[in-house]
């Protein structure tokens, strides 16, 4: 699969939505998995036929929490479109909550890490930055919660995110531990002081720090371009 550079940001925004829905479903919350598909004419469909956004509007949706979908596909596939909208609204409701709940952080963190994986796979600068790494598992944990994600890459395959260790025979290359739900949520917001939080001990890092450093840089780059409406 090739993502044209001009569409990468929109694609990343959409992938973030898909990842959010994956987490929503895995936590048995109401909603469905929203598979995304890049279409021609700068359109992206979400959750099958029905819900379809222009590239610009999907970016707007992620940044602000609202954007208008394309009318015609929605009317043509009204039932499926409504189910997808329902899931989006469920995600929005969780994101809009003021408290840092496990659900909110898990969904947002998965979206953030998956967005990073997307840039690692398709952004030329990020690909170059990570070109030396063939087999990597980075484990993200939020202390005192059940949240853990694994950002991984094996040989020539793409970067991927899972909630279970993808290969129990391999130890993680690096581990990042967030000391609380609030700290984990903060990492997804532009202006997060990553050096300061590590210095204070509210984020703990160990293992292969150079790969973690590069992943962190890519993730901050995305957060600047595509701030979540948290």
């Amino acid at each position: 699969m090739i993502v044209p550079p001009s569409r990468l940001l929109a694609y990343t925004a959409a992938i973030g939505i898909e990842a959010s829905s994956t987490e929503l479903v895995s936590r048995k919350l109401k909603g469905k998995h929203l598979e995304i598909k890049l279409s021609e004419n700068n359109l992206i469909s979400i959750g099958g036929n029905g819900l379809c956004y222009s590239d610009n509007n999907i970016i707007k949706a992620v940044k602000t929490g609202f954007a208008l979908p394309q009318f015609l596909p929605f009317l043509k596939n009204f039932k499926n479109g409504c189910e997808s909208v329902y899931t989006l609204l469920a995600i929005k409701k969780i994101f809009s909550g003021k408290k840092s709940t496990t659900e909110k952080v898990a969904i947002a963190l998965r979206a953030g890490i998956t967005s990073t994986a997307t840039f690692a796979n398709f952004d030329s600068q990020s690909i170059e930055l990570l070109s030396d790494y063939k087999n990597v598992i980075i484990k993200f944990i939020v202390k005192d919660s059940d949240i853990s994600f694994f950002l991984n890459k094996f040989e020539d395959k793409k970067w991927n995110v899972t909630s279970q260790c993808p290969n129990w025979n391999l130890d993680p290359s690096a581990v990042m531990v967030f000391s609380s739900l609030l700290i984990a949520e903060r990492t997804l917001v532009n202006g997060f002081d990553h050096l300061g939080e590590i210095g204070r001990g509210s984020v703990m890092v160990s293992g292969n720090l150079p790969v973690l450093d590069k992943i962190g840089y890519i993730s901050r780059k995305i957060t600047k371009k595509l701030p979540l409406f948290l």
Partner: protein, 411 residues
């Protein structure tokens, strides 16, 4: 046992408000052991330092190499104090600059001239420009992963870069002479210089010494292709051979840059060169606000004098040999595959198979709880202030910590 760190944390909290990241660069907490190393240090003497919480540490980083003779060396500080009475920066250089240039050119065998700045980067970059000026060729060749400073062409960081920064920089793998030859062939008559450290001392990985014929081959290729050979001796200078690290490995560069061991903590760097590059060097503008700082030059002059009179390079090598051999013994006793790579005066710690560095991080964490400062990701430094009892103390701590490591299930 956890060391006190309340005051360190208080300073860091204040710093985070007014300094990006609180502390940045290679001393940023994230690059070391953030919750085990202190963030701030109050004072240091010899090979010991005291952090702001009053914890005393037996140090093996020497200000990341800036200290060769020991912290607060009385003779060097006295020389600096003497100059301070006269002043530090004037409209014109102080006579001490001439003394220092004469001292360097008399002590470094190939050096016919010297210039001064403040940091290694200032002069590694300048040296590449001198090479470009002299040869009229654009390309610079370096070893992959080698650190030459913070300028855009060599900075290992990620931010603020554009493609053009590296468009005239070529890289080959250390010790890979065939790779170097192919690179030279691919840019025939377009390479101005080859800049190398005396051995490969990249962070986050074991140090690699040059293969037997590496330097001879490098010299030959440079000579055959009219490529200027620049030695980045910023980190190792004064620690392998008093006359420069090229003497230790038996080759002769055209230009060489020094800094860390030169001023013993007073900010100074120097580039020395062969006569034939003197004219070109005058064409490449070189200056800085405080680069004529006479205090750092006076300190450096004394530091050089001590390096020679006390044969400091030999001394730190021999201390390092005792230290590295003894720690290797401790590792064997604990059945750990641990080695101290690189020259013994600046050993880099490495557990075999520990590519993700969890083991070395845990080891240095345990050691830090006992008041010994071993860095997990950078080569350590032996200063001339490390006495036998200091080394023995650190060796014992290393042994105890290795045992704890094994007891914890690491191996």
């Amino acid at each position: 046992m956890s060391l006190k760190r309340e005051i360190s944390d208080q300073f860091f909290a204040r710093a985070s408000k007014v300094i990006p990241g609180g502390i940045y660069g290679h001393v940023a907490p994230a690059a070391g052991l953030p919750r085990f190393f202190p963030h701030y240090i109050k004072s240091a003497t010899g090979c010991m330092f005291e952090d702001v919480d009053g914890n005393e540490w037996l140090d093996f980083m020497c200000g990341f190499g800036a200290i060769l003779h020991g912290y607060s060396h009385p003779e060097i500080d006295a020389a600096a104090d003497e100059q301070k009475k006269l002043g530090s920066v004037f409209n014109q250089p102080s006579p001490v600059m001439v003394d220092l240039a004469e001292s360097l050119t008399s002590k470094i065998d190939f050096a016919d001239w010297a210039v001064f700045a403040k940091n290694g980067s200032d002069l590694t970059t300048w040296a590449t420009r001198v090479a470009r000026e002299h040869t009229g060729k654009p390309y610079v060749v370096k070893a992959k992963g080698a650190y030459h400073g913070v300028d855009a062409w060599c900075d290992p960081g990620m931010g603020g870069k554009i493609e053009e920064d590296n468009s005239k920089i070529l890289q080959f793998s250390w010790n890979d002479i065939d790779g170097l030859k192919s690179l030279i062939d691919s840019k025939k008559d377009q390479i101005a210089c080859l800049i190398l450290t005396p051995y490969h001392h990249a962070a986050f990985g074991p140090s690699v010494l040059p293969n037997e014929n590496f330097w001879a081959d490098v010299e030959y290729e440079c000579c055959r292709n009219n490529i200027i050979l620049i030695l980045d001796d910023v980190r190792a200078g004064g620690r392998l051979n008093v006359g420069g690290s090229h003497k230790y490995f038996g080759f002769t560069p055209d230009l060489s840059v020094y800094s860390k061991g030169l001023g013993n903590g007073y900010a100074i760097s120097a580039c020395v060169g062969k006569e034939y590059l003197k004219d070109s060097s005058t064409e490449v503008f070189l200056t800085g606000s405080c680069w004529n700082d006479a205090v750092a030059m006076a300190a450096s002059l004394k530091s050089l004098e001590i390096s020679h009179s006390q044969k400091v390079a030999n001394s730190v090598l021999s201390k390092g040999e005792y230290f590295t051999n003894s720690i290797s013994e401790k590792a064997k006793e604990n059945k750990l595959s641990f080695s101290l790579t690189g020259p013994p005066s600046m050993p880099y710690p490495w557990f075999e198979g520990d590519h993700n560095m969890f083991l070395i991080q845990k080891f240095c964490e345990i050691v830090s709880r006992k008041g010994v400062y071993f860095h997990p990701h950078h080569n350590w430094f032996i200063s001339n202030a490390h006495e036998r009892e200091d080394l023995d103390q650190a060796i014992d701590v290393a042994g105890e910590s290795m045992k704890e490591l094994v007891d914890l299930g690491f191996s």
